[in-house]
Symmetry: C2
Subunit: 311 residues, 2 copies
Amino acid sequence: MNKSDLQKVHRRIKPYIHRTPVLTSQLLNQISGVDLFFKCENFQKMGAFKMRGATNAILNLTKAQQSKGVVTHSSGNFAQALALAAKSVGVKAYIAMPENAPQVKKDAVLGYGGIIRECDSNTVAREAAADKIRQETGATFVHPSNDHDVIHGQGTAAIELLEDYPDLDYIFTPVGGGGLLAGTILAANAFSEVCKVIAGEPENADDAYRSLISGKIELNESANTIADGLRTNLGDRNFPIIKEYVEQIILVNEQDIIDAMKLIWERMKIIVEPSSAVAFAALLKHKDHIKGKKAGVILSGGNVDVSNLPF
Amino acid sequence: MNKSDLQKVHRRIKPYIHRTPVLTSQLLNQISGVDLFFKCENFQKMGAFKMRGATNAILNLTKAQQSKGVVTHSSGNFAQALALAAKSVGVKAYIAMPENAPQVKKDAVLGYGGIIRECDSNTVAREAAADKIRQETGATFVHPSNDHDVIHGQGTAAIELLEDYPDLDYIFTPVGGGGLLAGTILAANAFSEVCKVIAGEPENADDAYRSLISGKIELNESANTIADGLRTNLGDRNFPIIKEYVEQIILVNEQDIIDAMKLIWERMKIIVEPSSAVAFAALLKHKDHIKGKKAGVILSGGNVDVSNLPF
């Protein structure tokens, strides 16, 4: 996707999203030896970058499609994002959610006006439930990460970051389903001649790392990581982009993630979720290779249960 | 103190402090029915507004005084603020700290280049220790809150807030030692025709509230509040300002403070300390009286032990 197409995406969703601030920290620059620019998607509407992709997907539908609503299956940030984006545009959102999903997540979706259909918690049951809704209502299915409109929408965070700081050498993102990473790559390629994209991934859910080595989409047999947003697998729409252009995927262990999260909380006084800390943990692990460089870090979100912290 | 004098203070300290951002939140506006403008001193250098007053006090010394350093007694944010401000200006800072103060606080002072002298933890011992340092070194004593230069420095947060949002109807601050409240009042009086200042205070350390009623400085017999920055008493330099001009002091209980703190953390995704939450808790308690008005809230700091939270 070229620069003007991505600019069109950005213009389209702008009225519905926050232009989030970019924060800097002298202390974290000192600790890392890198000039850091944190793109604060934890301050995005509903608390995560997923608002961008969800909004773009809905706005790209025809009026006829919009009148029948959208549907997805998710128990995480994307469920809330689709519900809120749909509400902003005036469209119905149906969410297939596992019946054992935490009440607080169900309440958040309901609070944004989403319509919940409960289902069993396994992937097959979720997909079947979403498909049933689609058939019954005519709603359009929107995948949380493996959808071109979603990928392009997620890329707008990097567009804003590069508009603010055009001379970044690197952008670090987490990788889970691959939507944010693929979108960031497209934006970096279109808006910078030099900026490379590096992803952080939990060791305990290292499907993207292994996919890059094998050249085909690998799955996680288990995904026991605190970074709950990153337990999902890549898809056939985002993997080709990632495979061709990602500079590197860096694995981090659970303690790396917790330490990086605590460092951001304590030094920057902002709340980020573990998935955001994965990107920064990867940067810290890689810091000796990028000394003195300018690096953006996409802080993907801030939805975390503050009553139940890992430190 | 008139507007041009306060502007002079602001210009003097500007190179040494952050101009902190003002954040807004549609969700908290909805919850409160008030148009809210949060002045984020939790993002200030060393994590609290106290950096402003400490810097002003040091810059106002003569070169001869500066060459002998500054001294204070504090186990909290002011110890760190004076140490860092002194380091920025190139001056020595001696801090009398109770020997039983948490190591993390001692380390923070040492990290900023402060010179610690340990003493017993009661007020008499602290004052004696500070006085001994003063006699031995010739350093100038700087009180954390009952000092005109400190008061004027703390007022610069409200100056910036009113520069950004000149039509505020109210500014809410916490009140502990009274430096921030008195400085905010001076700034509001000088920079606005209409803006009134309201303070929040913990029920469990309600000395300022009682002082306002009795007309003389009252002390706390005990001060068992989570808002550890607000356990101190008013002084003879700040009380006259507070007595004459504060619109109201609103008491809040411990649960009010914890609830307000959690609300800010969860909804705004920023880390504030309990003392900051006191100002917002007071606003929430008072919200029906200021419906539809524009209110600034000074989030005084973000230095909190994230491993030991009240929720």
